[in-house]
């Protein structure tokens, strides 16, 4: 999958007027830009209860009563949730799905932008729709919608049996399960939360609760057979297919694999376990002690700790480096390979590695001005808005998508220039 290869990496600067849209429409909502940087789009209001989408100054042909959740897909198509005659659906590049629903929300896209899944409600029944195809079976309630990495399957927690508010004893017998592509597991649970697919889509693991106090991980409906005081979201090992989840026992968290304790250290918290792209390493956000946060790689926590928050853990493409965002008080920064960057900001984006894993770029905000920081070096130019930076496939250029004085600007910069 090499989406960026065919993009324009030569033109240094392209601009699209944006501020002017405000004069053309009643109001313009927050803009989104395409991954290749060639387009800027926003939901615009064109009159009372009349909404449209303006992309590069051009309106879609269809006007809707309501539009929300406008996003670009990875393949630069534009998707939104739209409402026409009181019915909701998804529209991609101005082409609505054929199916209409009483409500549509939580769109999920694959990394290649080829598949779209949404949560749907029809006649007060709940399910999911994948690429305009709704589940055949709908349920009394649904949550924790998931899309498989290959975009071919969906899963969610669903309510199997009816029960009324206040029926706590029926609830405790278990009325929830997970449904994969609309088909519920045979087993029922007190709760089913977030689920995950394995690489080939043949297995789904989910965090489940068996009683008020017993938690487990269930794979294809069968729980590990061991219970814990709590668990967090599971994840499949892309290489071996085993299931890894954080588990709590006697007040301490650690990672477990297929029901066996995997990490020997005990932590005050462990979550967001992530596999390196080659599947050989596991990193997780951990609290080695109360109020101290860091990242542990294969059960070895980094020395540097953060008091408030570590968020958005990312592996480099070569599986050797790790970066995440940090927050101490009002100051956001980046922690990479065990050390915290010296610069701090009012907000930082998710770190982006160059394809050769050499550079880490991140969008940053300070005093309402936005710019880019690469390898802890802050670029001197400032903008009114900026999106996540994108590296070319050789890692020597970076595309910046910014808004400068009301004009959208797509720049291609040599990385060296930003590091100067």
């Amino acid at each position: 999958m090499n989406l960026t290869k065919n993009w324009d990496w030569e033109t240094a600067r392209k601009t699209i007027p944006f501020k002017e849209w405000n004069e053309k429409f009643e109001w313009v909502e927050e803009p989104y830009v395409s991954p290749d940087g060639e387009e800027i789009a926003a939901i615009v209001n064109t009159g009372e209860a009349e909404f449209n989408i303006c992309a590069n100054g051009n309106l879609w042909e269809t006007t809707y009563e309501k539009i929300w959740h406008l996003r670009y897909l990875a393949d630069n198509r534009l998707a939104a949730i739209v409402n026409e005659d009181g019915e909701w659906t998804v529209s991609v590049n101005d082409t609505p799905w054929e199916n209409r629903f009483d409500y549509v929300w939580q769109p999920m896209f694959t990394d290649d932008g080829q598949h779209i899944a949404v949560a749907i409600q029809s006649g007060m029944e709940y399910g999911m729709a994948l690429d305009d195809k709704p589940w055949e079976t709908l349920y009394a309630n649904m949550s924790n919608a998931t899309l498989s990495p290959d975009g071919k399957q969906t899963a969610a927690s669903v309510q199997i049996d009816d029960f009324n508010e206040g029926e706590i004893f029926k609830f405790e017998k278990g009325v929830f399960s997970a449904a994969v592509n609309g088909n519920a597991w045979d087993n029922k649970f007190v709760n089913v939360w977030q689920s995950a697919f394995n690489q080939d889509g043949s297995k789904v693991a989910a965090e489940v609760r068996l009683s008020r106090t017993e938690y487990a991980i269930a794979v294809n409906g069968i729980n590990w057979g061991k219970t814990y005081d709590a668990v967090w979201e599971p994840l499949f090992n892309p290489k071996t297919g085993s299931v890894i989840a954080p588990v709590l026992r006697k007040g301490s968290w650690t990672l477990a694999e297929d029901g066996n304790i995997l990490w020997s250290n005990r932590y005050k918290q462990v979550w967001h376990q992530t596999f390196s792209p080659d599947g050989s390493r596991i990193a997780a956000i951990v609290a080695p002690s109360f109020g101290k946060w860091t990242i542990a790689v294969d059960d070895k926590p980094w020395q540097a700790t953060i008091n408030d928050l570590i968020w958005g853990i990312v592996f480099s493409p070569d599986s050797r480096r790790i970066a995440a965002t940090t927050k101490e008080g009002d100051n956001w920064s980046v922690i990479a390979d065990g050390s915290v960057w010296t610069h701090t900001f009012d907000m930082v984006g998710t770190p982006v590695f160059s394809p050769d894993s050499k550079h880490i770029a991140v969008k940053v905000e300070k005093n309402k001005k936005h710019t880019i920081t690469i390898n802890d070096r802050v670029w001197s130019e400032e903008f009114d808005a900026i999106w996540d930076p994108v590296f070319n496939d050789t890692g020597d250029k970076v595309m910046l998508r910014t808004i400068e004085n009301g004009t959208y600007c797509r720049r291609v910069m040599p990385v060296d220039e930003l590091l100067r």
């Binding site: 909502e29 009372e48 959740h69 949550s143 706590i168 938690y215 005081d229 109360f290 109020g291 408030d308």
Partner: protein
């Protein structure tokens, strides 16, 4: 003139808390054995408590000086069963003394006392000469009862709702978003370009509320929309679970669900890359994000700053982002909610806000940290209709407090307090209106044409 005999009848008619039947407590206790009870109590004591509980129990000199702190005690004509230490005597002391070997009947009573006759308001911590945190001990009792499956039905149902939907009132995912869009549309009647921005990554503020707002107080979201838009705030609301900041699991003793809720809330804010969370006028939710739920997850302080509505209104009024057209004229008094006053010291800011929007503010006495609890908080109102009279008879002192002010409006910047005070006003026929700050702020503020 009432006949004296009638008066006696009337007095007798005051319902006793002893006769309340709650299915959650009854059925839960019926399934217990003494062995099971002992094993759970000892597990909680051994694994989940430490020197603090031991020292609290060993240090308490049984002086009874905490009694006056409790609205239940004062309202029950100083019945010692309702004093803070009296409730400890009926719950945790025997559990410890008998090494957990207590009867199912005892657990049922202990659960009722801990969940419905104590609001864990921590006023008594200010009255104990040693600063013993009695509410903490009551929370341990609730935790034990939770693990034993003996929790009042309505409270448990609320915790169940939290576990399934991540909100307090079984609000389904689409209902939440739909309500926001409906309120946005309604508010456009007033400010045509008004927005309630959903899922706006990078906004300055994520506004979070508790589930009763979308469920049956949607007007509050409307008002928030007007206030945010008028003040020119760059804000957003999430269109995913995690929007609800409330947490009855914290009060039912279900720490694991509490942690799950707070994780969901803070991670939603982190995902949306906001700098702060502003929360509506709710007290217990503040406690949950500020020094209970966050701690259970390992955070010393909230990982994303949470600004309570009182402080938010204070900030925007002080900065002149909201101008007042004409101050509210009716005489008002202010109820200090425990969780943001004793819990966060927002009492002076609350007074600044009330004075900024109201002509005639009358203090209630005692006030600030010493204000009496509403008797609804701490999960008690969530124990539902069976225990409504527990709250009414247990808080006569609040009715007296309000009545004495002579105010025609009592401002209550907390949802539980608000509902609790409405019940009290009604029960004691005070004729006072109960309002949120935002009700008045919305009414008196200048709005864009």
């Amino acid at each position: 003139m009432a006949d004296p005999a009638e008066k006696i009848e009337e007095k007798k008619a005051i319902p006793s808390d002893d006769n309340i039947v709650d299915e959650g407590l009854e059925k839960g206790a019926a399934a217990l054995t003494e062995d099971k009870i002992a094993s759970v109590i000892n597990q909680v004591i051994d694994e989940e408590t430490g020197a603090r509980l031991k020292v609290y129990v060993d240090t308490c000199i049984h002086c009874g000086l905490c009694s006056e702190a409790c609205h239940y005690y004062v309202s029950h004509d100083k019945d010692p069963q309702y004093s803070p230490v009296g409730k400890i005597k009926q719950t945790i002391w025997p559990m410890l003394k008998k090494k957990g070997r207590v009867s199912p009947e005892f657990i049922k009573k202990a659960s009722q006392i801990a969940s419905t006759q104590c609001n864990v308001c921590k006023r008594c911590a200010m009255y104990c000469p040693f600063g013993i945190d009695i509410a903490y001990m009551i929370s341990i009792v609730r935790r034990i009862c939770h693990k034993l499956g003996v929790t009042p039905l309505y409270l448990q149902d609320t915790a169940n709702s939290h576990s399934v939907t991540m909100n307090q009132m079984w609000v389904k995912e689409d209902e939440w978003i739909d309500t926001l869009q409906w309120q946005e549309e309604d508010a456009r009647e007033e400010i045509p370009s008004l927005r309630i921005p959903l899922e706006k990554e990078g906004a300055d503020i994520m506004y979070s509320v508790i589930a009763p707002e979308p469920k049956f107080l949607a007007g509050l979201i409307y008002q928030a929309g007007i206030i945010m838009n008028t003040a020119g705030i760059n804000w957003t609301m999430p269109a995913t679970p995690g929007w609800d900041n409330s947490d009855m699991a914290m009060y039912s003793g279900d720490n694991e669900i509490m942690g799950r809720l707070k994780k969901s809330h803070f991670e939603t804010a982190a995902r949306l890359k906001v700098k702060k969370i502003v929360m509506g006028e709710c007290g217990h939710a503040f406690r949950s994000v500020y020094d209970v739920g966050n701690r259970w997850l390992g955070w010393k302080m909230p990982p994303v700053e949470v600004v309570h509505a009182i402080e938010f209104y204070y900030d925007i009024l002080k900065a002149g982002k909201i101008k007042i057209k004409k101050k509210y004229e009716k005489p008002v008094t202010l109820h200090d909610p425990c969780n943001v006053v004793r819990g966060r010291g927002l009492h002076e800011k609350a007074r600044y806000v009330v004075n900024a929007i109201c002509e005639n503010f009358i203090e209630m006495h005692p006030n600030r940290e010493h204000n009496y609890c509403c008797a609804a908080g701490g999960g008690v109102i969530n124990c539902g209709p069976p225990f409504k009279m527990t709250r009414m008879t247990g808080n006569r002192v609040k009715a007296d407090q309000i009545r004495t002010t002579g105010a025609s409006v009592v401002i209550s910047p907390c949802h539980n307090c608000h509902s609790g005070l409405e019940d009290i006003v009604h029960h004691y026929e005070l004729g006072t209106e109960v309002k949120f700050i935002s009700d008045i702020l919305y009414e008196v503020m200048e709005k864009p044409e």
